[in-house]
Symmetry: D2
Subunit: 327 residues, 4 copies
């Protein structure tokens, strides 16, 4: 931590800050510059949360050097982590993991048809929403428990592992029983209570980045999970909110590239939610793998024109097939 | 809803879309332009969630006219709503409501000193965090249940109503018992499960805008609460996330001004979180009331230099006193 | 400047960076922490532009302490600057300066009617666009030279000083001759060639903030002008571009409040462009003055329903009158 | 264009708007809905700039259907455009075009060494800045005319076409004489005067997207050039400004994918400016080509540790070589 003093800060003001730092059992080194003094703070093993230093007279600004996250960082663990679902589905392994399926589970027949098709075309996992966090209370909210049961049944019949999104701690038991991996969606990335309780189940977690979460906040949400003793976290970039509204979100591949350097966790890309339009899914999927992502999660529907939600961004079987071939 | 066809869309393509609309028991009116045909959809009483129409051949774009929200809109209810805490504390009433207090409840003594001071200086309500949603798992997480009990005790002793932030549905009973108003924080604005369950308590709710929530999403989060039968919602603008990082967030008074036109709900402003620096709190508070907000929520601390959280943005008693005088 | 080394940086890597700094005749102080070494750089009188240090092995990050701007800063000049147009129109003086007028100059008759009306209602200066920087090449581009001449004539007849926006260095002579103050618009804030050449005219300049300019970039654009020897700069906040699209831009009053601390230059607010809707202009104007702005620039039109540009955000004489009364 | 009336708009108010539309020689179709009336406007061959309709009593909102751009759109020209520099350097042709070189031209020796190296490694064009638009007036501003002459000489000696950035209309003759392609930088994308005058030279132009330009504004800037009769425009996505500050900008590949659908113009990607860090350049370059970009512009320096500008994001010859191999 670096404390920048105003250019007119007096010696007693500087001394006061130094004393406050030393009271915290940290070292304070005065760095007198040609314009102002800055005070370097050393000896801290972790991030110091001391915005209150701002209130000392003569202080202009505080600059942090130490990152707030630790367990998720590559400085903590140098080699790539892997999250294994089964022998052929390993996030962070040699081959990218492809997750596909509908936005919402609509019926046994619908999900069965999709599960068979995507498995045949090469997908590793089946996705499908049972509890849908919808912006409007009047939108279709999902089949809920019924949906999870359908998914669980089909998983066994077709032989494909599954993932679905949890939206409340009331659903913990159901997800523990019915799914192979649990998704925490963008809207709940900052729901720390949910993060901690899902973490304790010990199951693999797919953590989506919040719509306006910085890289640091995203990694800290994962840190909450690792800090509960669950290392099975896969990150997912799904587009951030920017001024550009021609596409639904802006897929932030800069951050994917940077996270591969900053963290050992696997990260995948969701081109469907990033684009919001089916015809941009394939190019963004290719870009995601090119930048180094460890997999993809893609919306595929047997009949997008009649989907109950997000039909506009779903691939048909044909377009999913041609995407898989191009990859 | 308006469906914009590509300029080369064929007649059969246009007919197909019209048929799909009519199947939904809506009217479709062809609007042939000099460059392309658009199709007006009429007869819908609510927002139609039909992104799947995008998948029809020949469709270029879908434009929505109807807003997704209803109960919160001024078209639904013309006159201003009020939310009454007690006779002298009415949000949306004649006088702005001033909420003040520390970021975190730290001890009985601290909160008592602050409660007495702010009441004397003219604040209407006492705020104080018991459960703190912190970005980092390593930051101080609040006194939790103990904090709420302290607050409840002081409320009675000093005679001032209280508000605190809820972060999990596990806390519902405690908040029902110990606080006069319940805050749903920016990070949980999209936690629809929490919104619905807190709504059912029937208590007044302060709903903070998510860091990157659009005005429509903000109003829809309130709609979730009203839709559960609880009309006692006060909105709170607390700064949005933008590219500008000189200040912690950007206080969006444009949206405050627009919400006063679009919705009948009261709205207050939080200059402390918007600025992140104590020395910008007073000018932003004044701007908030000038733009038409129905109140303020301000962080005040007896000893900001030793606060356990957010000390950098807390006012001292002296600066709070001078703010109140200026208002 | 602070150079943060990787936690595994070797001693020779650290020594290399220290040597490179010393070669620049600056001091380098090693700050060994419990996790990593940082290197404090001292002795620089100005901002050091050394992104290349990033390329040294073992370097993780560079953090700047010194700001890039100087002449515009309050550390350079403690008391408020004033920019005087005439005896009763002084930016940064005791009374806020009110600039009003149409988006575009459309005719002699139109501008005369507006000039008379706004002067009577209490405006200090007349605005009007002659060269319009339009997003589309097909939109009305202004009356150009003819417009400036009309404005100059009316200025004398009505007795009101004028301001108009310059868009090219070809127009320097015309603006020197015909206007009292020259506006550099948001789209040209980063047009450094224009900044320097307009600065040399020595006339008062109204510098609008670029749509996505940070506070630092905004102040540096002003620094370009002061660095040419022209201290007569008035800043103007006119809304920044954010994800929120319910209003055209987001008026950033946080930055106005902060600039009053960081800089001695006067700053005014443009509620018309910030809102993009006439019915939000009055509340935002009031908020602008409440936060401490030194004036306003507002679009007023004799007949907004028939304006050639930006009619949607223009006030009528009646609404301008009631705004002035409320202020 | 669609005019949305308030739900309480009266029949005379609706009639008034219809009359105003018909006065413009356009057709107005009333679309009475269950909640409100909307008015469809037809017959316009181009975008109608009628924000003033907002001022009519009873009008709630205006929604545009027609895009403002025309010549650049794929509806205007279905097949891909190409911009040919020479036989083996064709933007929009079969092979991606690779532009490489230093941020700034520093000396004859420096540029010669880089030109030879990048040509040998497979680059098609040499970039190098002579006039540098720097945020701070105190940063290195480039070798100016001297730089362009050096570049021109080396172009002939080494046999490689060149591109450099123009920053003022004063430089038109120099650029006409000394460069093969002219770059208009992000900061000048909205400098319409410069766009029009450079367009008239008839030379190929590389138009960079403004830091916060929407796709529509970006295409309209290109429209300014085509509208002057110059079809030789190559677009360049170089990162947009978002809340995420871990990387300098956010490379917006969504928009690249969408522009390939909306426009016939070639578009390339600048991973160096998007990332601001040399170690993210290679993954972003690969992602750019994977999404369908027609080329890359990359900063390469013989000695990044001693570069006069932007050293932190420059590749060495070795890293450029390995990037080329991976592509």
């Amino acid at each position: 931590m670096l404390i920048v003093m105003k250019n007119k800060a007096t010696k007693p003001q500087i001394d006061n800050v130094v004393k406050a730092i030393e009271k915290l059992k940290l070292q304070a080194e005065r760095l007198p510059g040609s314009q102002r003094t800055t005070i370097g703070v050393m000896g801290n093993k972790e991030y110091i949360d001391q915005s209150r230093i701002l209130n000392f007279p003569g202080v202009k600004e505080i600059i942090h050097v130490t990152k707030k996250y630790k367990l998720v960082s590559r400085e903590y663990r140098e080699q790539d982590s892997t999250v294994e679902i089964n022998k052929s589905t390993i996030f962070g392994g040699k081959k990218p993991v492809i997750i596909a399926g509908p936005c919402s589970i609509e019926s046994y027949e619908q999900l069965l048809e999709i599960a068979k098709a995507i498995k045949k075309l090469g997908a590793n996992m089946l996705r499908g929403g049972a509890y849908k966090p919808r912006t409007s209370p009047y939108s279709f909210q999902g089949l809920e428990e019924e949906g999870l049961k359908i998914m669980s049944k089909i998983s066994k019949e077709v032989g494909i592992p599954t993932i679905s999104e949890i939206t409340s701690t009331d659903q913990l038991d159901l997800f523990k029983k019915h799914t192979d991996m649990i998704q925490i969606g963008a809207r709940n990335m900052h729901n720390f209570d949910l993060l901690k309780k899902v973490a304790k189940l010990g199951k693999p977690i797919l953590l989506k980045r919040g719509m306006s979460a910085t890289m640091e906040e995203f990694l800290l949400a994962a840190e909450y999970i690792l800090n509960e003793g669950n290392p099975n976290v896969v990150l997912c970039e799904r587009g951030i909110r920017t001024f550009e509204q021609s596409t639904r979100n802006t897929l932030d591949l800069n951050t994917v590239a940077l996270i591969k350097k900053e963290s050992h966790l696997p990260i995948i890309v969701d081109p469907s939610h990033a684009a919001g339009r089916y015809d941009l899914v394939a190019p963004l999927a290719k870009a995601g793998l090119a930048v180094g992502a460890d997999g993809l999660i893609v919306e595929v529907h047997n009949d997008p024109k009649n989907a109950l939600s997000d039909g506009g961004q779903s691939l048909t079987f044909e377009s999913f097939e041609s995407l898989i071939k191009e990859l």
